[in-house]
């Protein structure tokens, strides 16, 4: 578009070209700040975790002892807590998010659709701190009641062992699930939207029930659906405030849903301002670095999957290849 014939022949060409070049460079430079910031985040995280990386190496991620006083830092309990809570949350949120996406894009009557979409979006708009507040004063007492009511026979399982505190993994996973649902369901809805309607029509034409037709559509969009779930996982891994307020902040590795545990984001939030010496600070930043790297990879993967799916959906011709009109053919 830059090379349009008019500007080439006009007398004012040099100025025009100079103007355009200036505009392009100036906006490009400012726009480049976005790239710069992303790189700077990576750089700063690496720079400020050097001491810890040099001293502990991989041992940092296999060690179970976190003792700032004696300078011993092992981050495995935090890694465990982050992964456990996020996957639990995804296990709860995944089916619900897909169900919502299916309902809103395939089943909901027209009048209900808009308000329901608005309400699910509202779920995403509520800040983390408000979820945390609600978690502390409403969810935790509820979960404690649930834990107290658990039959003794079940308590023998490691999954349900420990005193019924309410504060712990279960509360964290539940609150994370609620926070993840709107993100995953929004993307899953987009994915279903991108599935060509010919897929469903074909299924119905073959006598499929509603479920079978939707299953066909879901299958067609499966890469995108996985992408939607991954996006939710990325959100859950980095979530800080709500989790730290309900999980109990106790670094231990246990499968128990009732036990207070800790996460990577939570330990940073709790201890960062207390980090008295450089090694302590670098250890915390290293946790941040890994959190950054992991969410980066997961978000990248999820975008790739969604993009691949939407692209392939677009290339599936909805009607069979259009018959070219004779007049359109070059003579």
């Amino acid at each position: 578009m830059n090379e349009n014939g008019l500007s080439r022949t006009g007398r004012r060409r040099p100025r025009r070209v100079a103007d355009d070049a200036f505009f392009r460079t100036a906006t490009g430079l400012v726009g480049g700040i976005v790239i710069l910031i992303t790189l700077a985040i990576a750089f700063e995280l690496v720079r400020n975790s050097g001491l810890s990386i040099a001293k502990f190496g991989l041992r940092f991620w296999t060690g179970r002892v976190w003792d700032p006083v004696s300078g011993e830092f092992g981050a495995l309990p935090f890694l465990w807590g982050t992964l456990y809570s996020s996957f639990l949350a995804l296990a709860i949120a995944g089916p619900i998010a897909i169900g919502i996406a299916v309902y809103l894009s395939e089943l909901a009557p027209g009048v209900l659709r808009r308000p329901l979409v608005f309400l699910t979006e509202l779920l995403a708009a509520i800040p983390s701190i408000v979820y945390g507040l609600w978690g502390v004063f409403v969810l935790i007492p509820l979960v404690r009641g649930l834990e107290k009511g658990m039959p003794d026979a079940l308590r023998k399982f490691p999954l349900f062992s420990g005193p019924p505190l309410g504060v712990g993994m279960l509360s964290a996973a539940l609150i994370l699930a609620v926070m993840v649902i709107p993100f995953s369901s929004a993307v899953a809805r987009e994915v279903l939207h991108a599935v060509p309607s010919s897929q469903r029509e074909a299924a119905y034409a073959l006598g499929a029930t509603r479920f079978e037709a939707i299953r066909a559509a879901l299958f067609h969009g499966r890469t995108g659906i996985v992408g939607a779930l991954l996006l939710g996982l990325g959100r859950a891994l980095g979530e800080t405030m709500a989790v730290t307020m309900v999980i109990g902040n106790n670094p231990q590795i246990t499968p128990s849903l009732f036990a207070p545990q800790h996460t990577m984001a939570a330990v940073i939030a709790n201890e960062f301002t207390e980090a008295a010496d450089d090694l302590y600070l670098h250890a915390l930043v290293e946790i941040g670095l890994v959190l950054f790297a992991v969410t980066l990879v997961i978000n990248f993967l999820s975008r790739l999957l969604i993009w691949t799916m939407e692209r392939s959906a677009r290339t599936v011709p909805a009607p069979p290849a259009p018959v070219p009109l004779p007049s359109a053919e070059p003579a």
Binding site: T27, G31, I37, R47, L122, V130, G234, L296
Partner: protein, 282 residues
């Protein structure tokens, strides 16, 4: 026949489960909104808005410092993020096919996915560590970093909505590309971009994690950019985890105010977007 009945049954069950999923997700929402109304509204009074926190044990006090602090933080963030975000969006929309535009878009997407606590660490090491002091400026910077990708992507999307014919017309009349972009395309998309900024503000207004070790919070009233400053979300957090009944009450009020601000911003943005859509269709 029985096989078909089973298929219909499965189908009905599936439909029901999908509806149930929606209900299941709305229960916590209603639950949260209910408690915000029940506990938040009761604690909202004039002194909440005009008083600063009182020492522990003394009755009364309010969130005036935090309300002003949040406004200052949002203002600082916007001052830095809006020019950068809008320009980045302008570039990616105007030169959409280029490799550099793709790189900016990609970086914005990555930045959007960075956990907010990590943005906090970044702002700490850039704006706190060198001067060895928590400050409103550092907090505003952290929020700005979170705001940039949102503004950039909405700007790009809205610029793309502007019909190509407008730009082509300007170019055909002899305008330079810069002139066409700045005085034809950008103004056409301006109302949309303003709503995009509202959406971005709604998203960062409640962020707590990036402020914990940048703005840090402040028990006192402060408007200075080089000093620690109070913020609504931080104050809600410290009040919520405190053992005092009176503070819990105020935490609910603070949370209610926060959600109200976000709700109003979102609804404003929404109605504006809808009006824009109608305008474009006409």
């Amino acid at each position: 026949m029985t096989r078909n009945r089973r298929r219909r049954l499965v189908s009905g069950l599936f439909t029901g489960l999908c509806g149930a999923a929606v209900v299941l997700a709305l229960i916590p929402l209603i639950f949260i909104l209910f408690y915000l109304l029940k506990k938040g509204v009761g604690a909202l009074d004039l002194s909440f808005f005009v008083r600063n926190p009182r020492p522990v044990g003394e009755h009364g006090g309010g969130f005036a410092n935090a309300i002003v602090g949040t406004l200052i933080l949002i203002g600082t963030a916007a001052l830095f993020a809006v020019p950068v975000g809008v320009t980045a969006g302008l570039y990616t929309a105007e030169y959409r096919g280029t490799r550099f535009a793709a790189a900016i878009r990609f970086a914005a997407d990555l930045l959007n996915g960075v956990p907010s606590i990590v943005v906090g660490i970044f702002a700490y090491s850039v704006a706190v560590l060198p001067v060895k002091r928590f400050s409103a400026l550092a907090g505003g910077f952290a929020l700005g970093v979170m705001m940039i990708p949102i503004v950039a992507r909405t700007t790009e999307e809205l610029l793309r909505l502007v019909p190509d014919a407008l730009r082509d017309g300007a170019l055909a009349l002899g305008a330079t590309r810069a002139k066409a972009a700045l005085s034809v395309v950008l103004p056409a998309a301006l109302p949309g971009i303003l709503t995009g900024i509202l959406v971005a503000i709604a998203r960062i207004a409640g962020e707590t994690a990036p402020l914990l070790f940048t703005a840090f919070g402040n028990r006192f009233f402060s408007t200075r950019l080089d000093q620690p400053i109070a913020a609504l979300p931080i104050q809600v957090y410290t009040y919520a985890i405190s053992p005092y009944e009176e503070w819990h009450r105020q935490a609910w009020a603070g949370a209610f105010l926060l959600v109200m601000i976000i709700l109003v911003l979102s609804i404003l943005a929404r109605t504006a977007t809808r009006r824009l859509e109608r305008m474009h269709r006409a």
